[in-house]
Each structure stands twice: as C-alpha cells, then as structure tokens.
Symmetry: C2
Subunit: 157 residues, 2 copies
C-alpha cells in the first residue's frame, strides 16, 4: 500500500544528534503540525483532546535492521521490542500534547522528531482505550528520569 | 512511501458486523499474530513486554472521509478526532496484551480487527513513554463500560 503524507511536522530539531529520544524528553519543546489544506476539514473536534498520537515517516532512517542497539540500552535487541526507526516499515508514533488549533496548524508540545518529518495520521488519545494499567516493559527498565535526560545520536541515520 | 505487510493478524472476526470497536471490548478474545519468517528475528526480546502496539492496514475500509459518524457518538466528527478506519491513510493502531511468543507467532488478547488484517509494525508499549495522566478526551465522553459493550456495524465497509 502507498502511504501519502498529509502534512508536515515542524520542530526545532534540524539534526538527529542531541534530540530527545521520546516525547517525554521534549515535554516543553513546542512544535507545529501543518496539515495539508485538503485534509483540514478532518481536524474538526480535535481541539477537545489534550493529547494526540502522531504517526509519521522516519524519512531519514537508515535501512531496516532486525537487531539494533537502542538508545536506552547497551544490549542488542529485536527491532519489534524497541521504538528504533530502522524498522521494516519506518513509521513512527509519538504522543504529544495539543496546545492550540489554528485552522490547519496545530501547536503541540512534547516533540521528538526532526523538522520536516512527513505526517501520515493524527489520532486522538482516548483514556478509555489507551491507558494500560500494570504493564510490564521488558528490557526497558530505565526510569522516566533517564528517558527525559537521554538524547539521540546518529546511530540510526 | 510503500508500506509492506510484515505478517497477518488472525482473529475470530470474519465480518465487521458485531466486532468490538476497541481492544478493550475484546479483552478476553484471543488472536494470533503471524509474523513473516523473514522478520522473525526482530521479535527477540518482545516476550518481556506485557502489551504491544499493533499497526495494521484497514484493508476493508471504504474510501477516506474527512467527516464521519463514529461508533461512539451520534454526531458528525472530524476524522482526526476519531479512530474510524476511513482515514486518508487507513492505518490502524491497537494496544493488545501479549500472552505468548512461539517462534514467529504471537498469541494476543484484546483483539478488535478482522481476521486476515495485514500487519505492518509491532512496537512495545512502554509505560514511561506511553502513559498519559490527566488527559482530556474531547467528545469521547463514553464510559469504559460503554466502550466494552459497543459493537461495530458496516458503516465503514
């Protein structure tokens, strides 16, 4: 199937080096989502949600690798147990906080993607569907503090 | 960008009618994820996670609509404020519980997709990244009980 960009994500990050590795590491960092005019009508009612999922293409990711060394761990891990970009289908998923809707432009906080990242979908974060209680996070034993501190490097470029 | 299936999701649902509309409505319903052999190595370490995001193609969804009447609401809503399948890029996202990994086959619970749905990605659910506290869910005022009871119909077919 062909996936088409429906807009673009604007952020202060022009290079992968030193970017937050997760939205929670960029909680105060503001970005914009510019939705193409032809899809703007689909943004109706979005302003009622405090958080959104953004689906986007990792347009700078290197070729798919099935085993990777993720940012948060010194060991080699299977790609599907990580959130690394070098996946068979390089589609990224971030939960961001919605600050404002202005026509076809969303102001968001908690940005962890490169400036110019092609957007492919927006979905509302819905507590009743998306909150998981008592989950177990496998090898990811890092504390939230570590996630917030950690910055990326060029390993997936 | 071309998105390629990396496997298939097997469920007891052969038709859209009467299917749960969200994973939480199918919490006890078991399904299987068959990952294509060529990607099986990427499943290393997945067994440590209790919950996974599945990304998949809504292969039976009708053409994209920007305004829809969702399952959980009598009003017309912008597509990006809903989880409806008729999106510009018909990519679905479900959080499922991982029961077992057996080679390239995952047993899961909490299935809300049609049998034969093409899988395009698996990502671990990681509490430190993915839990949102104090979110606001816009028009979606349904209680969790309503989500669990609600079943689909053919409106997006």
């Amino acid at each position: 199937m062909e996936v088409k960009p429906i807009g673009v994500i604007r952020t202060p990050f022009n290079k992968i080096d030193n970017m937050p590795v997760q939205p929670k590491g960029g909680m105060e960092i503001e970005g914009k989502v510019h939705v193409d005019c032809q899809y703007a009508q689909g943004l109706k009612d979005v302003e009622g949600f405090s958080h959104l999922y953004l689906l986007y293409l990792w347009h700078k990711a290197q070729q798919s690798q099935l085993i990777v060394k993720p940012f948060m761990d010194p060991s080699l891990r299977g790609i599907f147990s990580t959130r690394s970009p070098s996946r068979p289908n390089p589609i990224g998923l971030s939960i961001v906080r919605l600050v404002k809707v202005d026509g076809s432009v969303l102001t968001i906080r908690g940005v962890d993607v490169l400036d110019g990242t092609p957007l492919i979908d927006i979905k509302p974060y819905i507590h009743a569907f998306d909150s998981v209680e008592n989950s177990r996070s496998g090898w990811m034993r890092s504390s939230e503090d570590e996630v917030i501190q950690r910055r990326s490097d060029c390993r997936f470029q």
